[in-house]
């Protein structure tokens, strides 16, 4: 994958992330209504934004290629397998993805 394609994929993931309810909810909040200081609030929003972009990269890759293993997702998104597993746990918990059989002794993940 060329650098330009990778950047386009990441940008599309960011656009999807900003369309998602979760990111809209946190970025649309007024800081005054949240009982934490501004610095902490910023850190929380930044980390959510970062996670959402990465999760939408994974979702985009599965949408494009069909069921994928962690290793395949890592190759497609350039994310570390441990980061992918962390996101898969969250996405599975939220009912976005689920297992879809095995390949080379690794679970395949598909969108629900």
């Amino acid at each position: 994958m060329s650098e330009r394609e990778f950047l386009a994929r990441k940008t599309r993931a960011a656009i999807d992330a900003f369309r998602s309810q979760r990111l809209r909810w946190v970025t649309g909040r007024s800081q005054a209504k949240v009982e934490i200081d501004e610095k902490r609030y910023r850190q929380v929003v930044d980390s959510i934004m970062h996670d959402e972009v990465e999760r939408h990269m994974l979702i985009g890759a599965i949408k494009e290629k069909g069921p994928l293993t962690v290793e395949e997702l890592s190759q497609l998104t350039d994310l570390h397998p441990s980061t992918i597993v962390k996101h898969i746990i969250a996405l599975r918990y939220n009912g976005v993805i689920s297992e879809a059989g095995e390949k080379n002794k690794q679970y395949l993940y598909r969108l629900l």
Binding site: L7, T11, R12
Partner: protein, 142 residues
């Protein structure tokens, strides 16, 4: 001889201030580069983050968001909302790996035609210095 890179800048201008400022720049015959494509919106507060990211993804070299000065918003809080959203846009660009300086937020009133023209000149030069958008195909320098 290689053609000089001419950037494409998408400008989202608020109807009440910046767009009127751009109009004044035209009627006052202030010269500015033709690299800018103006999109009139009713308020900067309605410019979604996705519009800015989509503009860059589709090949814009820079995005300018121009609205009323703080305290002058026609809808009271629109420009403050944009200011807050702008910090998230910059953060998102850093996360993706796009130079955040490609996107600018500026305040221009309806009487600041000269400022609008000067801003477009300055931003065009800034984007020229940054180079073409990473989304632009290598064989299409425009």
């Amino acid at each position: 001889m290689a053609e000089e890179f001419e950037p494409l800048i998408v400008a989202f201008c608020c109807n009440w201030c910046a767009y009127a400022g751009a109009d004044l720049a035209g009627t006052s015959r202030f010269e500015y580069p033709p690299n800018i494509r103006i999109v009139r919106v009713m308020c900067t507060g309605r410019i979604d983050t996705t519009l800015v990211l989509e503009s860059l993804r589709l090949g814009a070299d820079g995005v300018l968001i121009a609205g009323c000065h703080p305290g002058d918003c026609h809808y009271q809080r629109g420009n403050y909302m944009m200011e807050k959203r702008f910090s998230y846009i910059r953060k998102a660009l850093e996360t993706i790996g796009i130079e955040p300086r490609r996107v600018r937020l500026e305040w221009i009133s309806a009487s600041e035609g000269g400022k609008f023209a000067a801003l477009v000149r300055e931003m065009t030069q800034q984007i020229k210095d940054l180079g073409p958008s990473p989304f632009r195909p290598a064989n299409n320098p425009r």
